[in-house]
Symmetry: C2
């Protein structure tokens, strides 16, 4: 696999942390919501092992916020997601598929409810703000929609709790998963959620005061020495092992949430009003014809930059691989694939071509671990 | 300036031409509408000189299409742009600022009118499809909105006319600027427009039939040998010299079209209905407080990855540089900057810091050439 450089420009915005991570050894970027998102600090495998044992600080400012405030804000937020938010509580995070009127996925953000009239949609990589604005204008909703100046840094890994406790005290370790609250540091209050895009535990700090946030960034590295803190980023291997889906990779606007195994975030049997509800009821009635599952392939490496066909022994396509990585845990390639109906049986085998060689693989359930 | 790799994934989609340009020596990518857009083939300056003398074929599939069809399609398209399309004609392209209800720019596409009930919006880098869907749903418009399978290749440079004539005959050289028509090649009809993101002349081929399109791609290189054809991409130096604005670089949702010198695409005095019209009338009445202008700096190199302040001799900020490149033509750095009111005088001087050194610059009109 050849390597290519990324061309930087103002269009793919730097974050407040960019100059720091460049001194700390970032080696590759991707673009996420028109912003630079670090993709590696040297070896992906080294970073994977480190994340599972220690603690990392991640520049994930590319997870932008869509702030919706005003009288009709709850109505607009509910209109965009198939998850029932009628019993949602202030100070809590909610993972919510956002879908259009055809039930095609538009994003899969975490939504933060500040209160009934103030919401943050912490988005994956698509311009949800434009969808929200279009809907608000068309429906004449009384809302204000902006992208606030919020740049998230994540603190992830098993030692994140000890590190954060050193700075914010015992109280932060008592916060429940997907709860959030405000914590003071260096003259500013920071919204901190117990969340993050790994299954190793940790926090996301929603930095609104950049100056204080940068002081905090440096403090995390200073106080984190005893926990072997390192800079990092969402890790491809870890997130596939944990089956954390990636919008744009594992699913996009051509997929609906039921095909993506998001059933528990699809509430069709309450009287809430959201786009694509009738369409999803139809899908549920007829049954889905494909679904996301795990696959394990007897190979030592893979780079998935586009879908790769999965072929059965009759030479028919039975699905497509959408993400994949070599897992040091399984000592095989693992991946997330969309499988056609009649090919969902666990242990079903298939062939896949990687770098012009053919390998054997088998279907499995998600998550892997 | 350090170099960083781009991390490839399915989320930043490959194009049908990606495997070809990787054999042909692409060295850097950027991401554009969630797709790989080549950013250089070796030296930017060599490519600049070549583009101005010969002919290049560009993979610009990242310029995605938003297809709007149906009874209310003309109404929806007009609602999104401040340019009066009431007298638009079938088979023509229109450069149109798309703005929201606050008159903030959302995109600056070329809109292709197939007919009254079928439009393609050929977009710069933002998810216009989500804005269009939101507006259509909210307004209950009878339209169908999709991203069709269209992958543009551009043929640009002074010899593009000779090369295209060899394949498509005399007729293609008679097409007027911003006209489009269908031309047959290898069993498929291709929409070809006389357009492109350089001022060196040429065409954009909207490839819907991928197989025929790839045959055409190869044919262009085969027949183009006598014109010294090379692979290329939008060239930073050439586009700044020609003052072709780049959405996300030179302007974004915080800017309105009057601030960006797009006055001739703003039609406030007809009775058409579009978002942000009242807001723009207010802006026109009060007068703008900043505007995009050119700058020339007495320096030999620059890399603009974020805004750079322009400072006057009283140490006050008078504006910010948003794009810049060293121009072999002027033997200086040229750039596009947003200048605050009272600092619009041509030849006004300023100081700018590049790589920790201070340089002198002066304000000028656009375009440079």
């Amino acid at each position: 696999m050849k390597n290519f450089l990324i061309a930087k420009s103002r269009r793919i915005r730097s974050t407040p942390y960019t100059s720091r991570i460049e001194k700390q050894g970032v080696t590759a970027y991707t673009s996420y919501n028109h912003m630079l998102l670090p993709a590696s600090f040297g070896s992906l495998e080294d970073s994977y092992h480190h994340l599972k044992q220690h603690v990392q600080v991640w520049d994930v400012a590319g997870e932008r916020q869509v702030e919706i405030t005003g009288k009709d804000s709850a109505k607009l937020v509910q209109l965009m997601t198939c998850r029932d938010l009628s019993k949602s509580k202030d100070g809590r995070c909610y993972y919510c598929p956002i879908i259009d009127d055809q039930a095609g996925l538009i994003n899969d953000p975490v939504i933060l409810r500040h209160n009934e009239e103030k919401w943050w949609i912490s988005i994956a990589d698509s311009d949800v703000i434009l969808f929200a604005k279009g809907l608000a204008i068309g429906n004449k909703f009384e809302v204000k929609i902006i992208e606030p100046n919020v740049d998230i840094m994540a603190v992830q890994g098993p030692k994140s709790f000890k590190l954060m406790e050193k700075i914010f005290g015992k109280k932060i370790t008592e916060m429940k998963f997907f709860g959030f609250d405000y914590f003071e540091f260096a003259g500013a209050k920071h919204l901190i959620a117990r969340s993050g895009w790994s299954k190793q535990g940790g926090y996301e700090i929603y930095v609104e005061d950049t100056k204080s946030g940068l002081t905090l960034y440096d403090k995390l590295f200073e106080l984190g020495k005893e926990f072997d803190v390192k800079p990092g980023c969402p890790n491809l291997i870890e997130r596939i092992e944990s089956a954390l889906l990636s919008y744009g990779n594992d699913m996009n606007n051509n997929d609906n949430p039921l095909e993506c195994g998001l059933d528990k975030y699809v509430n069709l049997d309450t009287d809430i009003n959201f786009l694509g509800k009738e369409k999803l009821k139809e899908v549920r009635k007829k049954g889905i014809t494909r679904k996301l599952m795990g696959v394990i392939v007897d190979a030592k490496e893979i780079n998935v930059s586009k879908s790769i066909d999965l072929i059965n022994d009759k030479n028919s396509k039975i699905g497509e691989l959408r993400s994949g990585a070599y897992s040091p845990h399984f000592k095989k390639v693992i991946g997330i694939a969309m499988l056609d109906k009649h090919h969902w049986e666990v242990s079903q085998t298939f062939k896949i071509s990687i770098n012009d060689s053919t390998f054997e693989g088998k279907v499995c359930d998600l998550p892997f671990i």
